[in-house]
């Protein structure tokens, strides 16, 4: 009797869990479905769930050469900013986690506090600086900004991963006469690689989806996908199927990255406060 009760309870929980998951995922699913409809079907009444799928939207979006321009900008900017942030953060995190000083804690907290500076607060100065230096609407400009925005998170995350590397391993290695360089290159980095990889993923995700600076500082040349998608909002046009196809392509890689690294992302997103 009791086990039976427990079993039906579990079914109820499963049902509820799946219901919630489906509701939350539904808008993405609907967009995905719409991307395989013709424009007429996309706005048809009643909405169609079963239809003959077409790839014409994907072809149409790909044919607009500009699409690749935007997608390429997104790739270059998010990867560029991530590499730059890693280059700055890994040495800093290494020094702070293995050779902490009195100032380490306050340095880390100060870095975190730079994250609190609201973007709008410095919109005007950054816009003017960009105009003066010619970095407005350039990939370099956005790479610099995204590096700076993500640097605190990247430092924190790598710091927390380095902290987990057992000191004994490095100790033993040093006994064997390994130099600092060997120690870092052959022991530490391989051990911390999964952590560094998920840090990189988080940085790419955040840069890819950033929609304040990309909308305000780019017009065309350096505009990433966030800005390209936003351009669909102005004409109340009935290009929903094409918009859906473009959106699906824009979010697919990031969705997959997110699925892969969900567990480790928590640490970065909360500055290590929740593991």
């Amino acid at each position: 009797m009791k086990t039976n009760n427990k079993k039906s309870n579990q079914w109820l929980i499963g049902l509820l869990g799946w219901l919630v998951a489906c509701i939350l995922f539904f808008p993405i699913f609907w967009m995905f479905i719409t991307s395989f409809k013709t424009e007429a079907m996309a706005v048809a009444t009643p909405p169609q769930l079963f239809f003959k799928p077409t790839l014409e939207n994907y072809v149409a979006v790909q044919e607009r050469a500009a699409y690749f321009n935007f997608a390429w900008n997104s790739v270059i900017i998010s990867v560029g900013a991530t590499i730059l942030a890693l280059l700055l953060a890994v040495p800093a995190a290494y020094a702070m986690s293995f050779f902490p000083s009195k100032r380490t804690k306050s340095t880390l907290l100060w870095m975190l506090s730079t994250k609190m500076l609201p973007s709008v607060g410095v919109l005007v100065p950054i816009y003017i600086l960009g105009r003066e230096t010619g970095l407005l609407d350039t990939r370099i400009g956005l790479i610099i900004i995204y590096t700076l925005i993500n640097l605190p998170i990247v430092v924190w995350m790598i710091y927390s991963f380095f902290k987990e590397v057992p000191k004994e391993i490095l100790e033993a290695d040093r006994m064997d006469g390994a130099s600092t360089y060997q120690e870092v290159a052959y022991v530490l980095l391989p051990l911390a690689l999964p952590g560094i990889a998920s840090t990189a993923l988080l940085s790419i995700i955040l840069s890819w989806n950033e929609a304040f600076w990309s909308l305000n500082l780019t017009t065309f040349d350096a505009a990433p996908l966030t800005a390209f998608i936003a351009s669909f909002s102005s004409p109340q046009g009935l290009f929903w199927a094409k918009l859906s196809a473009a959106s699906t392509m824009a979010i697919a890689p990031i969705l997959i990255f997110g699925w892969i690294s969900q567990k480790q992302l928590v640490r970065g997103l909360t500055f290590g406060a929740v593991k």
Partner: protein, 304 residues
């Protein structure tokens, strides 16, 4: 006295592991320096501009006007409306995401068939870029003619709601909640999973009902994580921009103009550098009030 003299010399403290050889300062310095520049330069410029009459359209008319911009901005009813909107937006989305997020975290902490896949589906909205989320909702779900919601309600004979005209702020709240509920869920679920199961078993043995278990064991365990989620979300919600940009453009009227959008309007549409800088500084002060709490809460958890 003598004992002091005769006390054997303590062995010299073993040298902190080769730290002498590692130029730690040089390793940390680049990150610190770029972040200092990132903080100080734009802020100094904002302060400098905030005291000037400076419009990019009439740059020759530039002059120092003291507190003029602040007086103008602070007496502008639109600023206060936008601050009000910001607070309503932040508070509503916080309440929704954390309330539901806690419940869902408990739900997804249970074992059920396909739990892993269901969880992945549920957290997906967080990884969708804001402009895409906003347009999915605006066009495909909330559109008064062809949107799915309108089609369903009309099918039921209820007529259609013109979401962005009749309930603009509610629409924005729904969209942002949809994006951030997965974030709260993801973080709180991780926090719940670190709860010692033996503790729950023990409470259950003592005859604790599920609700009591939640109230007196799970919730206290989650309180820190909830605080962290609330503060991180607040920082992002104070600066919501993309969603408003592609859906309502701050309207109708000022209905969905939050502080971020207000400053954007001043800066890039009116080209009022002085006014926008003054507004920006107000946003910085607001965010810092929140930030103090966040940094404190993280600091208490940091062991160096």
């Amino acid at each position: 006295m003598t004992s002091v003299v005769t006390r054997p010399q303590p062995p010299s403290k073993p040298k902190e592991r080769s730290s002498g050889k590692i130029p730690t300062l040089a390793l940390v310095a680049p990150s610190v320096i770029v972040l200092i520049l990132w903080m100080v330069v734009p802020l100094a410029m904002a302060i400098w501009f905030a005291f000037q009459r400076y419009n990019l359209l009439i740059p020759d008319n530039r002059e120092f006007i003291g507190l003029g911009n602040f007086i103008f901005i602070l007496t502008d009813p639109a600023l206060w409306i936008s601050i009000g909107t910001t607070l309503v937006l932040v508070a509503s989305v916080l309440l929704i995401t954390i309330g539901l997020g806690t419940l869902l975290a408990v739900l997804f902490n249970q074992d059920f068939p396909g739990q892993g896949i269901a969880r992945v589906l549920a957290i997906s909205p967080f990884f969708v870029m804001p402009t895409v989320s906003a347009l999915i909702w605006k066009n495909m779900l909330m559109h008064p003619v062809n949107g799915l919601f309108a089609q369903i309600t009309r099918g039921l004979g209820l007529g259609a709601i013109d979401w962005f005209t009749d309930f603009p702020l509610v629409s924005i709240i729904i969209i942002v909640s949809w994006e951030w509920l997965p974030f709260a869920l993801l973080i709180l679920l991780t926090a719940i999973q670190s709860l010692d199961t033996s503790q729950i078993e023990a409470a259950r043995m003592d005859g604790a009902k599920p609700f009591a278990l939640f109230r007196y064991v799970v919730l206290p365990h989650l309180s820190r994580a909830i605080a962290v989620v609330a503060m991180i979300e607040t920082i992002f919600f104070l600066a919501i921009f993309g969603e408003i940009f592609v859906t309502t453009g701050g309207g109708p009227g000022l209905a969905t103009t939050n502080l971020a959008y207000y400053i954007y309007l001043k800066a890039l549409l009116e080209f009022d550098v002085g006014g926008a800088s003054a507004g920006g500084l107000i946003a910085v002060v607001l965010a810092n009030i929140v930030a103090i709490f966040l940094v404190r809460s993280v600091a208490s958890n940091l062991d160096t």
